[in-house]
């Protein structure tokens, strides 16, 4: 079985047109298995990616390229109950999660 998500890179193109991720601290809400995270994280200074689904977070961690492991942190969490540091992020990415 083989599925390829967005080989046309339409989503990647749009998110980079809308946001300059260079050197930013990013919070991603609803990261799932990290598919979207991997499409922008290389340009950031840091990424905290959240999802309430523990299995998805486990998959996200396993799928993260080695070169991003010092940049990206995945956490099992729900945005409505997590205490976040105030004014800590330059960008918040909400991926089908609000």
């Amino acid at each position: 079985m083989a599925v390829v998500h967005d080989p046309e890179h339409a989503e990647t193109r749009v998110i980079h047109e809308l946001i300059d991720f260079s050197g930013t601290d990013v919070l991603e809400v609803g990261c799932g298995d990290g598919r979207l995270t991997r499409r922008y994280a290389a340009r950031t200074r840091s990424v905290l990616a959240l999802d309430p689904d523990a299995a998805a977070i486990e998959q996200a961690r396993a799928s993260l390229p080695e070169q991003l492991r010092h940049t990206v942190s995945f956490q099992v969490a729900d945005i409505t109950s997590l205490e976040l540091p105030p004014a800590a992020f330059d960008v918040v990415v909400c991926s089908y999660s609000l």
């Binding site: 976040l84 004014a87 800590a88």
Partner: protein
């Protein structure tokens, strides 16, 4: 709205919110075979469409509360490519419980893309993307 308040508080002044969600259209089911793309029908994405309206209402409420200012909106097409009809049906069963694919759609897909045939099933969806700014 609670989530948007938390997000606003977590952002630095002039920080940006990128909001991505499926648009108010049902996904198109297509088969690509012999260089041609044939549209077979649609999946029932009523739930996602309902969620879109709820999310946009929350976004507007956050803007009305001056938590965010909308800077730009756009839409794009996201396509999932499956090498066989079976891989598509299996993917839906594994990841989208509750989504029912019409038997006629699957049958037609099998006619156009029998096992071993060169081609693919394409599931095409419109997405909405918004860039908002935190004052």
């Amino acid at each position: 709205m609670n989530a948007l308040r938390r997000i606003s508080a977590a952002l630095r002044p002039c920080g940006l919110l990128l909001n991505l969600l499926p648009d108010i259209t049902h996904r198109a089911v297509e088969v690509s075979v012999g260089g041609a793309i044939l549209r077979l029908g649609h999946l029932d994405d009523t739930r996602d469409i309902r969620d879109f309206h709820v999310t946009l209402a929350a976004q507007q409420a956050a803007m009305d509360a001056r938590l965010f200012v909308l800077e730009r909106e756009t839409r794009f097409t996201f396509v999932d490519h499956f090498d066989t009809v079976e891989s598509w049906v299996t993917d839906v069963a594994e990841h989208e419980q509750g989504v029912i694919i019409q038997a006629s759609l699957v049958a037609r897909a099998h006619e156009l893309l029998p096992p071993g045939a060169a081609g693919e099933v394409r599931i095409s969806r419109q997405f909405y993307a918004a860039r908002l700014w935190r004052p």
